[in-house]
Amino acid sequence: MIALLGPFVSPYPARSYQPLYEGAAGQSPSWKHPFGVEDSGIDVFSEVINGTKNDLYVGLVASLLTTIIGIALGAVGGYFRGLISDLILGITQVFFVIPVLLLILLFARVFEILVFKGLGLTLIVLILAFFGWSSVAFIVRGETLRVREMEFVQAARSLGAGSSRILFRHIVPNILSPLIVITTLNIAGFILTEVVVSFLGFGDPNTTTWGLLLNEGFALIRTEWWVSLFPGLAVVFCVLGFNLMGDGLSDALNPRLRE
């Protein structure tokens, strides 16, 4: 049930917030404020919506980048045998054990000292992507190992297909479902990481994100509960939405279940 509803529920943060955002941008802050107003006079509703854009940016772009890196390294490492494959596996394992969150915090600290500035969003995205691709690579590698032993791969080879053709036209399309699931799950995961980073105050204070709002709200939690509650709910729904979407997509894209 939930899996079926997934695709309908999940576009919600992506689609229906956006037009509201355009409408709300023209309004003066603190005129109509369904989510309340911060001490400083910032409208929480529009800030939550504002943050959606930035958090989605982090989640989507970082996840896309990790998927690209993951496919490239995982597929090549899984398809070919020998030194290259072992080397890629080794690198993947090293990256797998790196605690990304701690690393970002470390980077942020260093960055702050060097440039007196919090980490910008794009930098967070790049760090997430650079250190977060290993789970995708593992899955792609494992699936490639499984699929490349299947007879149609040999059939393709016996009909004159070259390695890259086999890899990208025959193997990768066959591993799409797990790939899509991990990609959407990653989106949720990366958004969470970003929230944690800015909640802890390591983000850029000039870019609205849900984490930043939570950070601001945390100080006021006893008097102005709404400042923390609504960004928090946004995070919950967004992450839940992407998780459901991953499920829904994997069902929808499986050719065996189609029709």
Binding site: E151, F152, Q154, A155, G160, L176
Partner: protein, 329 residues
């Protein structure tokens, strides 16, 4: 004598596994004349499929062709680059695989699987390729071909899938077709249909066919000449009629006795034991541990493939002495 289309001699293809070197093909020689259908017969693991894979140079790693020569249309295939080989696979040589449920890519429609190859090898435009795909489906006797073009493999029955796989193998009109146990995974009635189809196509398209199977019935039905393989070695080569009427190798005899027959009421004989470990094959004749006629010499010395009669070769020390039972048919 007609020109040899494919001439494999003293081929050795080994698999370098962690447990040791598996001698999957250990000095096999096979030749095929243009236009004929020959059979490669043997149990699982006798090296039939690896021989075919070697001819196309698609032996999966860690396998490697370590020795021998493979000549196709007079050209040495082992000297060719991977790029040159790729141009041969499809237009010159093609394979029909054993299991049609896995030999078709599940994520593409029938049309896409067929047009893909045509666009790759023949530079056809998409519309032309689709036309030809339709023609190919008709050729292999698929009903409602327009509808089937749009179908995914899982929507087709086993026999239909195998027909699609055959259509795919034939798409670029190969000169030589390897049929690697094409009917093993099909039920009996479909088997007969598919064999009939292959026979007809072979005649109509003047193809040369190498029939790989463990089923002596298929051999009798389809082939003119047979090479009997065991444990990566050639046991006996002869015309199909001679193999059935006057087998000279004990292994061939055993294979024939293991075939059920409607007319006979005798107990089906099983070949005792299993195919040997190919990492450390038995000394002497590879078949001696399972051979009921085995003598001392069979353990000590490996028999060579000798010419017993015109067109009949056998690798057995005892072929002169043995009076083997032909299959009573």
């Amino acid at each position: 004598m007609t020109e040899k289309l494919l001439d494999i001699s003293e081929l050795r293809t080994y698999f370098f596994t962690e447990a040791g070197v598996v001698r999957a093909v250990d000095g096999i020689s096979v030749d095929v004349d243009a236009g004929e259908t020959i059979g490669l017969v043997g149990e699982s693991g006798s090296g039939k499929s690896v021989t075919a894979q070697s001819a196309l140079r698609i032996v999966p790693k860690p396998g490697r062709i370590v020795a021998g020569s493979i000549k196709f249309e007079g050209e040495d295939l082992l000297a060719k680059s991977e790029d040159e080989m790729r141009k041969l696979r499809g237009p010159k040589m093609a394979v029909v695989f054993q299991d049609p449920t896995t030999s078709l890519n599940p994520v593409y429609t029938v049309e896409k699987q067929l047009t893909d190859i045509l666009m790759l090898h023949r530079d056809l435009a998409k519309a032309e390729a689709s036309q030809r795909a339709l023609y190919l489906l008709e050729l292999v006797g698929i009903s409602e071909p327009e509808k089937r073009l749009k179908a995914y493999p899982h929507e087709l029955s086993g026999g239909m899938k195998q027909r699609v796989a055959i259509a795919r193998a034939l798409s670029c009109e190969p000169t030589l077709l390897f049929a690697d146990e094409p009917t093993t995974n099909l039920d009996v009635t479909i088997q007969a249909q598919v064999l009939e189809l292959l026979k007809k196509l072979q005649k109509d398209l003047k193809m040369t066919m190498v029939m790989i199977t463990h089923d002596m019935g298929i051999i009798a039905d389809m082939t003119r000449r047979v090479t009997v393989l065991y444990a990566g070695k050639v046991m006996e080569v002869a015309d199909t009629a001679a193999i059935f009427n006057a087998p000279m190798h004990p292994y061939t005899e055993a294979l024939l006795k293991a075939v059920p027959s409607v007319k006979q009421t005798r107990v089906l004989e099983v070949i005792p034991g299993n195919i040997p470990n190919l990492i450390e094959p038995p000394t002497g004749c590879v078949f001696h541990p399972r051979c009921k006629y085995a003598k001392d010499i069979c353990v000590k010395e490996e028999p060579r493939l000798e010419k017993a009669e015109e067109g009949h070769q056998v690798a057995c020390h005892l072929w002169r002495e043995l009076k083997l039972e032909a299959k009573a048919s």
